[in-house]
Symmetry: C2
Subunit: 226 residues, 2 copies
Amino acid sequence: MAGISSPSIPVTDRTRLKRLPKRGVFDRAAVYDILDEGFVCHVGFVVDGQPFVVPTGYARVGDEIYLHGSAASRMVRSLAAGLDVCVTVTLVDGLVLARSAFHHSMNYRSVMILGRARLVTDPAEKTEALRAFTNHIVPDRWDGLRPVTSQELLGTSVLALPIEEASAKVRSGPPVDDEEDVTWPVWAGVIPLSLEPSAPVADDHVGPDVPSIDVRQAVNRRRRAG
Amino acid sequence: MAGISSPSIPVTDRTRLKRLPKRGVFDRAAVYDILDEGFVCHVGFVVDGQPFVVPTGYARVGDEIYLHGSAASRMVRSLAAGLDVCVTVTLVDGLVLARSAFHHSMNYRSVMILGRARLVTDPAEKTEALRAFTNHIVPDRWDGLRPVTSQELLGTSVLALPIEEASAKVRSGPPVDDEEDVTWPVWAGVIPLSLEPSAPVADDHVGPDVPSIDVRQAVNRRRRAG
């Protein structure tokens, strides 16, 4: 909905990294790759001065991300009221083991989006958002499903948050030990971590004629960088 | 520090689940199992009315979780000032694929802790916290490392958040389709997901006499439930 977006996201006082600025990423394509690979975001909002951080699914469409939930939920009510929100997506890529406790770290890619959401009320856009949620979980899943009903559309609240004030933070590569420590006799390096699927578990109603799901392909297609 | 804690965490208006109360867990042991399995938490705090959600490492010791960072970071400054905070840890366990878009879901376990942190200033407690961070990443890692220096202790800010107002949310099991949908000809069930390690990547300084790291054992020891 934002029309043509610039390839880089403007840095603001709120998204500029005060520390370790080399970890900051404001390239729109890099931010979107992280958003497209994650399954869960953490939504931060404030009620009576108390911040809440709620994990939930999401999907990116163009320069917005969609969130959804029950109209009765605290999160949906807060966001629909136009409260300031922060949505963060974090991918954990590895444990960084150094020779001193101080230099232990994690490899990760995270995106933080600040702004205010709008409540999506148009049924066509709501349907598009539901399609995006579904295909974000498994690509092309939507087309094989029982079509969505108007009652389901009414029962789901959809929110759209523009990706205007946003930044990514990335840490990658080996540990950075102090020079005098590199001969310390302990293993140091990276243990890569990734969210991996295991064998799918069909529910009790899947008939013998229903084709199984190709999990590896579904998950790998999410990862542009392999 | 909290002495003897009760086996259940009191439910408050802020942690009671308004929706799907069957997903709520207030058993202290279950909450701690989730905290002990995660690597990254999402810390929510408010600056000038804007919520921020920042991913960071953590470790639980008794009835508190420790966080750390540079004294200059926005997160540490905000938490050290005694602001209200929300710390959320989420473990993604699977994709729940139903026969309708509406009933797609995720299996997950999450913990939300509300409260105010205290800045840890005692060097002995700070050292204990650093040990906890390190051994939370890889069990028993601390003892083999180059000992921490007093400058490193000074350069690290440690915060402790009591686990007093907290709750867990858990979704597990197969999709719950509408009864009239169970014959719809599409695969439905769960694709289990877990954060898995792959082969460790030693850095350039690991000598031939340094024993390698047993990744599988290190990661599996974190998971009480297999």
